[in-house]
């Protein structure tokens, strides 16, 4: 009899212990957010402003009571340290610092390394800036989400804008950095171009070395070839150098230039950027966003960022905001679903699937099937505007994500091949600067 009672007691305690995590998670004293960003190397042009943004956002969140009443803290690891060091630091951040969520990373290479690791560690990871569409198309993850779009809608929006505004071009050349993004973005762009405007001839495909200090020969070759359109998805110092060298020698005036992700260089290029260049923004990111520019909170954020860093926010700053909004949204949704009790990580992940949240643009949603973020895309042309010592965006089109994002379960290149010239006829509203 005594033995039976003992067995019953042990079983009851064991059952209670097993059930504990699912029923009641103690409200933590702090939510630790571990962020992988570039603090060194060329991509620090995105990473350092994003770090400044993360610190600002966390401080602001804490002033408002944190997430679900819990203050947040942020810590950073440097993607610039590269492969093995990044993986070790990520593991340390998860296992030693015991962060509650990670935002990783900027580079698609980093995301490719970290996503499987986050999965192994059962760590909620928001891929906050990396653009390779293949990451979520090749494998289904539970713990990884992407809180912004990917390269496919980003390039497709730029291409549709080009075809809508300059429909008669016959030749095109590309000058992209020789690494994953440069190659993948061209594959997306050229695949879609072939089906939407098959008569266009590609006259040069130039992939200068990543970080090349000189594009003189490329510029000479393009001046000699005289393509109607020159596309570049380069960024950072490479893009600045290319645009300036091309401008100094008249190439920007000879061919129509398309800067696939040029928004991030506009302030640095200043008056060296001529009017009329087509510019993409990796999302609907623009500090003078036509639908947000009068929003008091948006304006306050932009001005605070300018005061802190000396520059207006660029897209990586807004992507960081989206990661925070996504995490906050998921935790608060899970809290509500859990009847106000603090949710487990698994419950937060369940809540993140299909989550709709808002950054500093139109709303974003996390597609439940593959955890891909559906985000609008803003594309415009450069224009001189009073009050700014750099060019601003004009004739902006904002593309709805559902029409330009690869459907769940399909590979981007396969989907792009199913499109037709009629795809360009989609109705997209246009916004004037200051309008």
């Amino acid at each position: 009899m005594m033995r039976s009672i003992t067995r019953l007691g042990v079983a009851a305690v064991a059952a209670a212990l097993l059930a504990l995590p699912a029923q009641a998670q103690d409200k933590p004293k702090e939510l630790k957010i571990g962020i992988a960003t570039f603090l060194s190397g060329p991509a620090s042009v995105f990473g350092v402003p994003a770090k400044a943004a993360a610190e600002m956002i966390a401080e602001d969140l804490n002033k408002k009571g944190g997430i679900g009443g819990v203050p947040v803290s942020v810590s950073f690891i440097d993607e610039g340290a590269g492969g093995e060091a990044l993986v070790s630091n990520y593991r340390r951040m998860v296992q030693d610092e015991k962060v509650d969520v990670t935002f990783a990373a900027i580079s698609s290479g980093s995301c490719g390394q970290i996503a499987p690791l986050a999965e192994d560690l059962k760590m909620l990871n928001l891929m906050w800036d990396c653009g390779a569409s293949s990451i979520l198309e090749a494998k289904k993850y539970r713990y990884n989400f992407r809180s912004q779009a990917n390269g496919t809608p980003e390039m497709l929006a730029v291409l549709v804008y080009l075809l809508k505004t300059k429909p008669d071009f016959k030749t095109i050349a590309v000058v992209n950095q020789d690494y994953a993004w440069g190659r993948e973005s061209w594959e997306i762009f050229s695949t879609a171009l072939k089906v939407m405007k098959p008569d266009v001839k590609v006259v040069a495909e130039l992939f200068p070395k990543f970080g090349a200090p000189d594009f003189s020969t490329e510029v000479s070759r393009l001046l000699a070839l005289k393509p109607d359109v020159v596309l570049t998805t380069s960024w950072g110092g490479d893009l600045d150098t290319l645009v300036r060298q091309a401008g100094q020698r008249g190439l920007l005036q000879q061919s129509a230039f398309v800067l696939g992700i040029g928004e991030s260089s506009m302030q640095r290029l200043g008056k060296d950027l001529p009017d009329g260049l087509i510019i993409g923004a990796r999302g609907d990111h623009w500090f003078l966003h036509p639908e947000m520019k009068n929003d008091a909170a948006f304006k306050a954020f932009n001005e605070a960022f300018k005061a802190k860093t000396g520059s207006w926010p660029i897209y990586s700053v807004y992507h960081m905001q989206q990661a925070f909004s996504a995490y906050q949204g998921a935790v608060e949704k899970a809290l509500k679903a859990n009847g106000g009790k603090w949710p487990t990580r698994e419950q937060v992940i369940d809540a993140a699937e299909g989550l709709e949240f808002k950054g500093w643009g139109r709303g974003v949603s996390l597609r439940p099937e593959d955890h891909q973020g559906l985000e609008s895309q803003l594309v415009g042309v450069s224009k001189t505007a009073p009050g700014y010592d750099f060019k601003v965006l004009d004739d902006m089109m904002i593309f709805e994500p559902k029409s330009i994002t690869t459907p769940a379960g399909m590979k981007s290149v396969d989907w792009l091949k199913t499109l037709s010239p009629d795809f360009v006829k989609m109705n997209v509203p246009t916004f004037k600067h200051g309008g």
Partner: protein
């Protein structure tokens, strides 16, 4: 290949070769005299560029033409101050160590200087294009070139080459440097202060690297890590020419510059490979480099 492409590629190649020569000749000179492979040479290039941009942005509002002397002043400042301090306090104590240790130490200096550069100038690209804008464009076969790149840079490179030759062969200071290079012990025995010669040589070499950076600064964005690329390329040039070979560095820089330009017109995929392909082929056939010779005077 049509003649237009040949002429355009020659113009592009010469302009690129001029910058590469200025940096690699400094590396070669330092090796020729001090027998030290200075990995931190790339940092001197980057510091020259950043310093030139800083001074240019400072003096441009007074008169844009002052940006030209600013480039020269920046090179001398970086060469004398950064180069001088580097030689005196970091390299001098390690001259007696094994070459591999010296290499590691200069690599450490390179890493430290790279981080310092980020602290001083930040991570955002900097651009100071005033000198390029001041000079007119010239049209070659209907293609616009900046005269800064196709005329001024090659001109500075040629002046440097002949100036250096003259200095080393026909001046007393140059002869002293040659004497130390030839036989340090014998030179010291006749009263030459070898340590001072090392310092002066290092400052000249460092100033040349900084001059390369300063002259590049109006044409390119200054970004973290810019020194890394240049040091790798300079090593390729110096090794292909034969370490310590000044005229060799000029010929090799020209060879690599032209080959790179032609390949961009013909097969752009191979652009990155070209300098290293040339280096590999040359070293397989002549391990001491194109102009290197065993046990003879190196400069």
């Amino acid at each position: 290949m049509d003649s237009t492409i040949v002429i355009l590629a020659i113009c592009d190649g010469i302009s690129y070769a001029a910058l590469v020569f200025l940096v690699s000749v400094g590396l070669s000179l330092i090796f020729g005299v001090l027998r030290i492979v200075n990995v931190a040479h790339g940092s001197l290039y980057a510091y020259g560029a950043y310093m030139a941009a800083t001074l240019s942005l400072l003096v441009a509002p007074i008169s844009p033409w002052l940006t030209f002397p600013a480039l020269l002043v920046a090179s001398v400042l970086v060469g004398a101050i950064v180069g001088g301090l580097m030689e005196r306090f970091l390299l001098r104590p390690v001259y007696h160590l094994e070459e591999v240790l010296q290499l590691l130490i200069t690599f450490a200096v390179f890493m430290i200087m790279d981080n310092l550069q980020r602290m001083i100038w930040g991570v955002q690209p900097i651009f100071a294009a005033e000198p390029v804008k001041l000079l007119p464009n010239i049209s070659i076969l209907g293609v616009n070139y900046t005269s800064y790149q196709v005329l001024l840079l090659p001109l500075v490179a040629v002046i440097t080459l002949f100036g250096l030759r003259y200095f080393l062969r026909y001046t007393l200071a140059g002869s002293i440097i040659m004497a130390v290079t030839e036989d340090r012990e014998a030179a010291t025995a006749i009263g030459i202060d070898a340590r001072r010669v090392f310092l002066i040589t290092f400052i000249i070499g460092a100033s040349l690297a900084a001059l390369g950076g300063a002259l590049a600064s109006p044409t390119t964005s200054l970004v973290p890590g810019m020194g890394t690329d240049m040091i790798v390329l300079s090593f390729a040039v110096a090794a292909t020419a034969g370490l310590g070979q000044i005229e060799g560095a000029a010929v090799t820089a020209l060879m690599i510059g032209l080959a790179r330009a032609f390949i961009i017109y013909i097969q752009p995929e191979l652009e990155v490979l070209v300098p290293y392909l040339i280096m590999m082929l040359v070293l397989l056939i002549r391990p001491m480099g194109l102009f290197g010779v065993n046990r003879v005077r190196k400069i």
